[in-house]
Amino acid sequence: GDQVEQSPSALSLHEGTGSALRCNFTTTMRAVQWFRKNSRGSLINLFYLASGTKENGRLKSAFDSKERYSTLHIRDAQLEDSGTYFCAAEDITGNTGKLIFGLGTTLQVQP
């Protein structure tokens, strides 16, 4: 939505390479979550961050509430990383647990 601007909208990588996805927020967010929608349509919860960085395998995410952005870095991309990646965040003024989603980044990893 308008409060969460996700880029790029589409990304193509060769196996073994890496890149970064980014979400910019138009307002201060409490926390951010990153998801991957896989080929079966399921949403996989990748990260939840209230601040700082987290790393899990070949994925690393950072969230800066003050600077209003979050990133998701993918290194050594594999074919199974293909899918649509969403970031979602909650406005700091809210207390409902409602998430505001970006429009997603469609990642295609090629051999």
């Binding site: 979550q33 399921s42 919860n45 979602a88 647990g97």
Partner: protein, 110 residues
């Protein structure tokens, strides 16, 4: 591991028919949510709930009702389904701000 299940996984309905999508969570989370996901829109919140007996309107509630009869179950009801409601629907549960999603239900309204 958080566990949220949805049924059915796929549904084809006719215009004007009633559709009920069910969601069950075993996380004992107070909050539950229904979203729909359409290309170009990300996920949009339809209804949510703070606990058994509670339902709240989300950002796009028109044409949908919700029911939370227990902590574990949260249903989304389309009383008169329309083709514009063809979408993928996701249920989620959460204790605070982190949400755990079900596998999704693909609904096609003909």
């Amino acid at each position: 591991e958080a566990a949220v299940t949805q049924s059915p996984r796929n549904k084809v309905a006719v215009t004007g028919g009633k559709v009920t999508l069910s969601c069950n969570q075993t996380n004992n989370h107070n909050n539950m949510y229904w979203y729909r996901q359409d290309t170009g829109h990300g996920l949009r919140l339809i209804h949510y709930s703070y606990g058994a007996g509670s339902t709240e309107k989300g950002d796009i509630p028109d044409g949908y009702k919700a029911s939370r009869p227990s902590q574990e179950n949260f249903s989304l009801i389309l009383e008169l389904a329309t083709p514009s409601q063809t979408s993928v629907y996701f249920c989620a549960s959460g204790a605070s701000y982190e949400q755990y999603f079900g596998p999704g239900t693909r609904l096609t309204v003909l």
